[in-house]
């Protein structure tokens, strides 16, 4: 039992990212409203970003900006253990950008659909298509 609890606590970031991802995935599959699905999609994407950022965390390390000064002794030796892993951050900057780009396109599509059918509920739209 204590084992289980310690695993749960030791990796709680990972459990939360799984929870968020599943919330987003469920919303994307099961929600009926198109904009709600887009909200779900964004939650899904941010959950993955949370996962990547969690990879980068390092105990006892500081943010990945080197301490530096100017002058003769500016370049002191840098130890890798003192700084958080920067690579996941770089990747996630890209992923955030991709997320907002997808969001813009998805909203543009939703507006077009609304102009055609005057509703955002998927079942109402499908009913209108069937009527034609």
């Amino acid at each position: 039992m204590t084992d289980l609890i310690s695993t749960v606590i030791a990796k709680y970031n990972y459990w939360i990212y799984i929870t968020l991802m599943m919330i987003g995935l469920y919303a994307m599959i099961a929600k009926n409203n198109l904009v709600k699905k887009i909200v779900g999609m964004n939650i899904f994407q941010t959950a993955i970003i949370l996962f990547y950022v969690s990879i980068g965390v390092k105990k006892g390390a500081t943010i990945p900006i080197l301490e530096h000064g100017h002058g003769p002794d500016a370049h002191h030796v840098v130890h890798a253990v003192d700084y958080i892993n920067p690579l996941p951050h770089v990747l996630m900057l890209t992923a955030i950008v991709v997320g907002v780009a997808t969001l813009g396109v998805a909203l543009a599509l939703a507006i077009r659909i609304y102009n055609n059918y005057n509703t955002l509920e998927e079942d109402e739209i499908l009913a209108q298509i069937r009527e034609k």
Partner: protein, 496 residues
């Protein structure tokens, strides 16, 4: 110049997309020549690269001058060396063929259309050429986003179909990203070759297994492998013809390429076929995909939608072939990427020509088309023969390899599915030919000025189509060379 082909391949379409985007606001007539020149340059680089690969073997190109595990590198080997020319040539021919159609459909938005077109090709070429797992994700998203934009401009139902595609595509891409994250957490690397080097001691790890499954599911979502195919038929059917004849041949095939790349390079055949016991299950899924694709196509009374279900069935061919786990199956799958891209292009271009002239693609719109558009329908016959698998055309040869692979690995059900779908294709296409040939042309649309006479699509649309039809036959005739000089080296020695 020669050493810079890998960069030029991707950068030239990208830069020209930007130029076209600006030109669209200044002088619209500049867009088309710039786009054609850029894709011509890309095709030239792609062919040059293939020749260099044949000469020298694998080419590594370091972007930014950083050596691979640190920076991003391009790896061009026999596998993507073969796929690159196909992608760029398909895109080029389709662009030339659709000039008139694009001007007819989007008179005010020519600039943005060509921009998106070029960016899409950039994305696809980048996916094929890159050697970095994360870079692949970014390019995947470029290809996807521009694809949504292109597909959504079409009939009234297009935006909804595209939005569904967007949801599915995003889930797929995110799954792939998550899988890459899992690989990163256990290996610490993002470079494909480097990951493959670090993975073997970790083959028993849960995380690696989950990474593989998640990546595969993500890629299958993107390529519309059977239970995950629901977005594809509507999205491709309701789109405008220029976009659907670019996206239908290329996107699914490039995703199949990504799957094969994951299986052969990142995870290696040893892990996929020996450590995992999934290959039977996936082949069965492929069987279902092929059968369902064929049956659903049979139920359609609409040429374009019927073709989209054939695309679904063809994806089943390639996934099944790749997962058979032997050399012949893999050869068939890789060869089928090439062939299927070309034959799907051929039939979708035919639909494009028909839409241009007749303004419809339901079966009743096709009546009497053989008399009206003989060249277009001639190309349709060649494309259909290739999809069915009639010998001189290329479709026969890849099917042959797939069937040989199925027999030697003992998956007789897969062989049966292949033959079943070929028979269904015979029925499908001969039904179309019957309508086009025997029933008189009906002019209820009122576009026909000379009843009974010939009214072919413009020369600029017909010539590229005929070129594609000729290529189909040529690729068929030179299959032996392609297999012996290229594909044979693309498959690792370990695979028998």
């Amino acid at each position: 110049m020669n050493e810079q082909y890998p960069a030029l391949l991707v950068v030239v379409p990208l830069l020209s997309a930007l130029v076209v985007s600006i030109a669209g606001w200044v002088n619209k007539r500049l867009c088309f020549p710039v786009a054609v020149a850029a894709l011509g340059m890309a095709a030239w680089s792609a062919v040059g690269l293939l020749l260099r690969v044949l000469d020298e073997g694998v080419i590594v190109y370091k972007l930014g001058g950083w050596s691979p595990p640190m920076g991003i590198a391009y790896y061009i080997d026999y596998l993507n060396g073969l796929v690159l020319p196909v992608v760029s040539i398909v895109a080029l021919l389709n662009l030339i063929a659709n000039k008139k159609g694009i001007e007819q459909q989007f008179p005010d938005k020519i600039g943005p259309f060509y921009t998106l077109y070029l960016l899409m090709v950039t994305g696809l070429l980048g996916i094929v050429v890159t050697g970095d797992a994360f870079n692949l994700y970014v390019l995947l998203e470029i290809a996807a986003l521009t694809g949504y934009g292109l597909l959504a401009m079409g009939e009234e139902r297009a935006p909804l179909a595209t939005l569904n595609y967007l949801y599915m595509g995003t889930i797929g891409a995110c799954f792939y990203l998550l899988g890459v994250g899992y690989l990163y957490i256990v290996t610490g690397s993002l470079n494909m070759v480097d990951i493959a080097r670090l993975l073997p001691p970790l083959y028993q790890s849960n995380t690696v297994l989950a990474a593989f499954i998640i990546c595969m599911v993500g890629v299958w979502l993107k390529m519309a492998f059977f239970p995950l195919h629901a977005w594809l038929p509507n999205a491709y059917t309701y789109a405008n013809s220029a976009a659907s004849s670019l996206i239908a041949p290329l996107v699914t095939k490039v995703m199949v390429y990504v799957m094969i790349r994951l299986m052969l390079t990142i995870f290696t055949t040893e892990f996929v076929f020996t450590t995992l016991a999934l290959s039977d299950a996936v082949v069965w899924l492929a069987v279902i995909a092929i059968v369902m694709g064929a049956v659903l196509a049979l139920a359609e009374r609409n040429l374009k939608k019927m073709l989209t279900y054939i695309v679904v069935a063809e994806v089943g061919y390639m996934v099944g072939g790749a997962w058979l786990g032997n050399r012949d199956g893999m050869t068939g799958a890789i060869l089928h990427i090439v062939n299927d891209a070309l034959m799907t292009l051929c039939v979708f271009m035919v639909v494009g020509n028909i839409v241009y002239k007749v303004k419809g693609y339901a079966f009743e719109d096709l009546k009497g088309l053989f008399r009206k558009m003989p060249f277009t329908m001639g190309a349709l016959v060649v494309g259909a023969m290739s999809i069915i698998g009639v010998p001189p055309t290329c479709g026969f040869f890849s099917k042959w390899y797939l069937i040989v692979g199925a027999i030697s690995s003992g998956h007789y059900c897969f062989m049966a599915a292949l033959i079943f779908s070929s028979l269904v294709s015979v029925v499908l296409f001969f039904r179309v030919f019957e309508i086009c040939f025997y029933e008189p042309f009906s002019n209820h649309h009122g576009h026909d000025n000379h009843p009974g006479g010939m009214d072919e699509a413009p020369v600029s649309m017909v010539v590229p189509l005929l070129v594609v039809a000729v290529i189909l036959i040529l690729v068929g005739l030179y299959t032996g060379d392609i297999v012996n000089h290229v594909i044979q080296f693309a498959i690792p020695e370990a695979m028998v």
